[in-house]
Amino acid sequence: MSNAGFVQLFPVMIGLSGILFTLGVIGVLVRRNAIIIFMSVELMLNAANLAFVVFARALNQLDGQIFVFFVMTVAAAEVAVGLALIVTIFRAKQSINVDDIHSLKG
């Protein structure tokens, strides 16, 4: 988009990033389903990505976009391991409600 349009939209995008991050925090705090909590974490990562790209555009540098790329790869690795953990916990406990998972002993 053009420069003028971007200057106009800049606060909207930063605000959107903040709101999405806050919604992710709320999701982590209020939901008890481990998978939903995990999805909320992904939402927070996405909000951070949006902020990275907006600031990269504002400063006319590509480094922000490179960082988004790294965040995405780390998120993919995190999801793989995290979901494997959830599957293992579900096999042991027959539940992924985080309130039911309070003992270290498998």
Binding site: R57, Q65, A80, V87
Partner: protein, 170 residues
Amino acid sequence: MIIFGALALIAIASAVMMIVTRNAVHSALFLVVVMACLAVFFLGLSGPFIAVVQVAVYAGAIMVLFLFVIMLLGAERVGARLERGYQVPLAIIFALAVVILGGYVLLQMQNQPIQVVDLPTNQIATGTPEAIGQTLFSSYLFPFEAVSILLLTAMVGAVVLTRDEKKRSP
């Protein structure tokens, strides 16, 4: 302009629905909508490569993994019951704290606004695959290799974690 405003509203509404809805599959699909909206934002912010990666990796691979696990566990409605009493007010307090902190930072930004670099449209740095690759394999070569090792470790970790206990040799 109107498109991006509408997209922002759709993204926020979907994120709210993702948290509120009781069915985990619906949650995952709402999250896909949020990610698609963000991909369009990335396109508008001169990052075509990031936008495509967002759709392919996030909306594609990661969400398929989520849906797969939800359906594998049959966990669509697990954890749908109401939370324990004392947690709800605590959650509201912490969420409010985050909102207040974020709002404070935004207000500080208004005092010293970030100077958007003023350039003609043809000089805006665009995140084409070529430009991203140039930067990735010059300035960011070491982090790139580190990420490859991280991905390998994650893959091995996921396989080890989900391996059936009984089949392990004693």
